[in-house]
């Protein structure tokens, strides 16, 4: 099974071949590694990679894993290569959607629809975990719409303001 992988700004190919139930050969960009992989608990595995021992936490994400190693948490995005590498590139232009970076409460709105804002201008104030954080405009433009309302509790990713 071959994966297209992106990790820490790199794009590599990784091929996984099972040799026995727990033993694998993983070829990363042409370099083979012998890996003994055993689950050691929910979301954890012990890896012996070319004889080096690693305890890894494997946190599942929609597009891959965050791998917790002793000193690093590394996000690994992967996709099976056979399925076509249709890594859809997002459109760079168009309106900017400002979404909630965390669950919390909208405390104050600082802008209204139609208003011109400079890049970095405060849009609204959110409260989460007892701290107030000001969300700022990612770029200059006109406020197209304000979906947030004062006092509203929002989840991560909730649309708050659109700037065009």
């Amino acid at each position: 099974m071959i994966f297209d992988v992106s990790v820490q700004g790199r794009t590599v190919k990784a091929e996984v071949k099972a040799t026995t139930a727990d033993s694998y050969t993983v070829v990363i960009d042409g370099r083979p590694h012998v890996v003994d992989f055993r689950e050691t608990g929910r979301d954890f595995a012990s890896l012996l990679l070319d004889g080096r021992s690693f305890e890894a936490g494997l946190e599942r994400r929609e597009d891959g894993f965050v791998v917790h190693l002793p000193a690093d948490n590394i996000a690994v995005v992967l996709q099976e290569a056979a399925r076509g590498s249709a890594a859809a590139h997002k459109k760079a232009s168009g309106p900017s959607r400002v979404t909630a970076p965390m669950p919390g409460k909208v405390v104050r709105l600082l802008v209204e629809a139609g208003q011109e804002v400079a890049a970095g201008a405060g849009l609204l104030v959110m409260e989460a975990m007892k701290m107030e954080n000001e969300l700022r405009a990612p770029r200059a433009g006109r406020v197209q719409s304000v979906a947030a309302r004062e006092g509203l509790a929002v989840e991560t990713g909730a649309l708050l303001v659109v700037i065009e």
Binding site: F54, F65, E80
Partner: protein, 504 residues
């Protein structure tokens, strides 16, 4: 007088910490909790637990009437307030006194005198303790704030008079930033302490934040338990503390200890308390404020003095004399604490609440983890995002740092972001290793001087690719079997066979 039952008017790790002390002393403990906290660890650990209202702290952990009502109904004769919430609320201490319930902390009048920050500054001046220049009274009107601000000059610090823990606190670099800062500080202070008055202080540049732990009994005995270095902060909130401070000379340490004891004796202080100082680059100390309660970072002091501060608090509240004198207090070895927050250090320390999918906690020599969470726990959005305090002790600062680095590498929290990766980097940072940092460390020096090490990304790729491979095989196996027998995991088959073999 021996206390019969202690109610803990708090939540999270500090409530668990107090429950542990109660259990060691054989005193039954009572937890209180909000609707959001039924499954919090303190509820599970206490002997008794009672709900006191909806999730927002204003309607639960700050409701004195409900907490006192629970105390009366369950027969608790003492209340430990922890830190935050009602711990520095003189009205609450007074209400306890009036209800005949022992408040495990100083007397209400002392909290009032020392807890209101400007009054503490006035008392310090009277006791001959140097303070940061600024207002000696809370300022109310915007007009007065503007006038005082231009008198003191910029940059200045705007602080909630009732404040603590970095809430309601703003650095104001220029006059233009004043109005927004006042707004924000007031609103935060109102929601955190129910009091929106503020005061102003000149900002001390490149300061060290060093505090002295004190302990006093009701018989006029007061001692200090040396210092804690709390300079490493983000958003004016401490993230790493240590003792001893690598910055203090023996002379300055003795001087600050004596100043602290003098101030404590002047106000007839009882119980545990902390005097916070700013020390400027010329090693001049300025008294900042007193926290009339247990501190988050008290374990650092416990590790180097070999004392249990919570048990001492309870003994003093029972009217006992301090079991030790100043001469008995020794600062042995070095301790470091890292506050593990549910925050994303890669995104400006944004809160990262949510479910802890998996958890592994470090152990071994010299390591202590004061946690308020567990695997499967949902870190709620309503409260402070600190989930645990990781403490390492070593014979020297170098030993302690080595242990902390090792403990951080063992600590695994999956499902939410935490500050652990940040600590891993700090424990390798040349400025931190050299003990050379000021309060701007997190924002400035950290990035500038960090030695970047390449992460073992190919190990991560191998782990992720194998896991994805196994997931896909399992899914295909499940699909091909779904027409016939239900899929059976290898583990279950083996377990069943061994079980059967043993019986037959």
């Amino acid at each position: 007088m021996n206390l019969k039952k202690i109610l803990i008017a708090n939540r999270g790790e500090i409530a668990v910490r107090v429950i542990r002390a109660c259990r060691e002393l054989g005193i039954p403990s009572v937890a209180v909790y909000s609707e959001a906290d039924r499954l919090a660890l303190h509820v599970r650990r206490a002997d008794e637990a009672y709900e006191i209202g909806p999730a927002p702290s204003r309607e639960s952990y700050l409701r004195m009437d409900r907490i006192l009502d629970v105390a009366k109904r369950c027969g608790a004769d003492a209340i430990h307030p922890g830190y935050g919430f009602l711990s520095e609320n003189a009205a609450f201490a007074r209400a306890c006194e009036e209800a005949g319930i022992t408040f495990i902390g100083p007397r209400a009048e002392t909290i009032q005198a020392m807890g209101e920050k400007t009054s503490a500054r006035r008392i310090a001046v009277e006791a001959g303790v140097p303070v940061v220049p600024g207002t000696l009274h809370p300022v109310a009107s915007d007009e007065e704030i503007r006038r005082e601000a231009s008198r003191i000059g910029f940059p200045l610090m705007l602080k909630a008079a009732a404040g603590g823990g970095g809430k309601g606190l703003r650095l104001v670099p220029h006059a233009d930033d004043l109005a927004t800062a006042v707004d924000r500080a007031r609103s935060e202070a109102k929601s955190a302490f129910g009091d929106d008055s503020v005061y102003l202080e000149k900002a001390v540049l490149k300061p060290r934040h060093i505090e002295i732990q004190v302990m006093a009994d009701a018989h006029g005995n007061a001692i200090h338990l040396y210092e804690r270095e709390c300079t490493i902060q983000r958003r004016h909130q401490k993230v790493i503390e240590e003792s001893p401070s690598p910055f203090l000379t023996p002379e300055l340490r003795e001087r600050m200890g004596s100043l602290a004891v003098a101030l404590v004796k002047k106000v007839g202080y009882v119980n545990a308390g902390t005097l916070e100082f700013l020390v400027d680059k010329d090693r001049e100390p300025y008294f900042l404020e007193m926290n009339t309660r247990l501190q988050v970072e008290h374990p650092v002091t416990e590790m180097v003095t070999n004392l249990d501060l919570v048990k001492l608090q309870i003994r003093v509240a029972q009217g006992e004399r301090l079991p030790i004198t100043q001469e008995d207090v020794r600062q042995t070895g070095h301790a470091i604490e890292c506050r593990v927050y549910a925050e994303d250090p890669e995104r400006g320390f944004l809160p990262s609440p949510g479910r802890i999918a998996a958890l592994r906690v470090p152990g071994g020599p010299g390591v202590r983890d004061d946690s308020g969470v567990y695997e499967g726990y949902d870190v709620p959005i309503h409260y402070d995002p600190m989930i645990s305090k990781l403490v390492a002790w070593g014979r020297t600062r170098e030993d302690a740092i080595g242990r902390m680095r090792r403990a951080v590498s063992e600590y695994k929290v999956l499902g939410i972001q935490t500050t652990l990766p940040f600590f891993e980097r700090v424990m390798r940072h040349p400025d931190f290793l050299a003990g050379d940092f000021d309060t701007s460390f997190v924002d400035v020096a950290f990035r500038r001087h960090e030695v970047v090490r390449e992460a073992p990304w190919e190990v991560a790729v191998a782990a992720a690719a194998i896991q994805a491979f196994r997931d896909r095989k399992a899914r295909r196996g499940a699909l091909s079997q779904s027409a016939g027998a239900a899929p059976v995991s290898g583990w279950r088959v083996r377990g069943w066979r061994e079980g059967a073999g043993g019986r037959l």
